[in-house]
Symmetry: C2
């Protein structure tokens, strides 16, 4: 496969074919006015082309403000392809190409990049996840079930010692995975190096006493040189997971972390709503997650079903499935990652979350959903594991709760969310 195909939802003033052509031109050989070197040969070798254009509707008003006006605005799904020769297998130039100036074209009154069909040549220069689900299980010495995780709360304000105290409680509760909040990186009130030292002391003691290893995702997000120093700090203290806020460091920032990391990389998508929220502009998660996987994320956040955020359950389900699906359109390595469910998750959402995937290779993060259990965090974790057993065995959670006290109390404590059919 010697080309990349991008799928867009487009809307244009007048004919959407004109919009698709403007996009293909702007993002390959097109220019304003004819210039000397703009030959037919170059257009043939480097021009983008429209594979297909399926009109899906029209309206009498533009969805986004648009300098070109028309009586009718036509909407379509367009598939547009570029020769690989234009950008090779560079993720950054791919991004400038499929998600560059096109968002500003006056020939488009809506434009969303929905998906990318990438050839497996990208694997030659992009390493993909170092660990994925298998490596995460190995690091945790845990072979069964989903990872039950939680988040340090409040997001900001705890000192390193206070954080470590909370980690001790959570480790004793039997948790598999704990993460820093995305707002907590290396603030003056809780320096990362001190936090790593304090937390890892607790976790090493816990492992020595119980044989149970907990994964802690330290938020190392920062400038590139600093992130590399942060990775050294993690290594020094025997930590096993680095979290990064992907939108804050960019694709090349993630890739730089991956290059020097011997840790599982937990990809947080703070800021994701900017790309996803509007039906008229942005990038769909199916497209976006492929870039982050190529750059090296092992875990990717996908929100939770019935979460506090506005994303619909069907999008969350599709996102969770997408990160486990093969990354390339033509074979090659899978580069599968672990989806991370989070945001207002409780025992009610475990079975639906598993059903979306049909397997246990996911992380289920609950904050209040564990720490708010009336019998304490220990019972909170047990309740989630019981919910996961029930899901695995296909037993309705309320039936399983009859013989499992912690789960029963969790279901009584947390409001049953209304979930969409996904």
């Amino acid at each position: 496969m010697k080309y990349v195909t991008a799928t867009y939802e487009l809307e244009s003033p007048g004919s959407v074919a004109r919009g698709a052509e403007a996009l293909a031109g702007e993002q390959s050989t097109g220019t304003f006015g004819k210039v000397a070197h703009d030959t037919d040969e170059i257009r043939a070798r480097h021009g983008a082309w429209i594979d297909s254009l399926e009109v899906i509707g029209s309206s009498d008003r533009p969805s986004l403000p648009c300098r070109i006006q028309a009586d009718r605005y036509e909407r379509a799904i367009a598939r547009i392809s570029w020769p690989l020769e234009n950008f090779g297998t560079s993720l950054t130039t791919l991004l400038s190409t499929v998600a560059g100036n096109l968002f500003e074209l006056a020939e488009l009154s809506a434009v969303r990049l929905l998906d990318l069909d990438l050839p497996s040549q990208f694997a030659d220069t992009n390493p993909g996840p170092q660990f994925g689900a298998t490596g995460t299980r190995a690091a945790l010495i845990q072979s069964e079930g989903p990872m039950i995780g939680t988040i340090i709360k409040p997001c900001v304000g705890l000192s390193p010692d206070e954080t470590a105290d909370l980690v001790k409680t959570l480790a004793e509760a039997g948790i598999d995975f704990i993460k820093d909040d995305e707002l907590q990186a290396n603030g003056p009130h809780c320096p990362l190096a001190d936090r790593v030292a304090a937390v890892m002391r607790v976790l090493h003691e816990h492992e020595a006493a119980t044989g149970k290893r907990v994964m802690y995702a330290f938020n190392i997000t920062d400038e590139i040189d600093t992130m590399w120093r942060n990775l050294d700090t993690l290594t020094e203290h025997g930590a096993n997971c680095a979290m990064v806020c992907m939108s804050s460091i960019g694709i090349s920032g993630l890739r730089a972390v991956r290059e020097r990391s011997s840790h599982v990389i937990h990809g947080h998508r703070a800021g994701w709503g900017l790309y996803s929220r509007s039906p008229d502009i942005g990038i769909g998660f199916t497209a976006w997650q492929k870039l982050w996987r190529l750059a090296g994320a092992d875990h990717l956040h996908v929100n939770g079903l019935g979460s506090k955020f506005t994303e619909s359950d069907s999008i969350v389900a599709q996102s969770a499935r997408s990160v486990q699906a093969p990354v390339f359109a033509d074979g090659g390595p899978d580069y599968a990652t672990m989806p991370v469910y989070s945001s207002a998750q409780t025992a009610w959402q475990v079975a639906p979350a598993r059903d979306v995937l049909g397997n246990d290779d996911f992380i289920f993060c609950a904050g209040g959903g564990i720490q708010g259990h009336p019998d304490g965090s220990g019972a909170g974790v047990v309740a989630l594991r019981q919910a996961a057993e029930a899901a695995r065995d296909g037993i309705p959670v309320e039936d399983y709760a009859k013989s499992h006290r912690e789960l029963k109390k969790a279901l009584e404590t947390y409001t049953r969310p209304t979930l969409e059919d996904v």
Copy 2:
């Protein structure tokens, strides 16, 4: 000043006060459900607060899809502040805070970050532009007038030698500045190292023969390690400017380039429309450009007046002014950058572009507007310089054209754009 203030345009189902509170909570100490360590003391020390909330309208429909429904959706300008202690002067954590999860909140049916008031403490850890306008003029040995620039076209397809041939023509035409297209980084058909060698050979010969130095912005956009190698390649060949596609490499990518660069950094904003296009979600340029300046951009693209893109002239004018305005809310270094006008620019737009700023510290890029001049690129450049002289002296361009042949022909050749009053 010990805090950061962000200005948002918000819309909420029901009362917008509830939306602003949800934002302030989510992005500081808030959590789903009460947890043990969420004390009043932590809220007082680390909580974000609402400075002001000015309702500007309401509607009976949400602007963006929103899980929470209401009869009325209220819109407001909100100013929200965070203690500096939460993130110190880290740009990446600032970004995760002021432009993080908030875009996904169901309590908001529209959210745009419009501006950031940053304290000058950020200068302690963020270097800002190394050159700016003064350094750019020094590198060019040019003390007067705006920089007249152009772009290699077609965007992709020329070999290194073909590029160098075109550069020779443009240098002989008297151009000040040439840039790679954002689609042309290090593709297999035009490897960067070969292009740098071929182009710089031409430019050195030109300087030796004429005493005139041209600035060429080589698109070094790539993975971090590769960008650093690319900078070495530039140094080796005596190049003076590195272009990066900012959205493709992220804030920390730009900062990494700045750390190791002895070159002027030309910031291209391919992909900008994703942030700017919708009135209901995104980031305003006034806010965004401050981050890029702190990270080290010397030049920043702002589109052109009457351009081929959809951004209105008033936004372009505001953007151009913003990059020259002081970056901090409380003094400190200015970190002023040069605005770069581009996209379908001709002699008609020179005076309006200058009038927006009231000075000549800008780059005026024209592709077809130079290379399409009927008497060739040389006359095209001369015409733009004549237009700049007229603008500086306050003479209407059509009057000046009466005694300036190249300008006269340019005005006859290019359609006069209809510009907004800015």
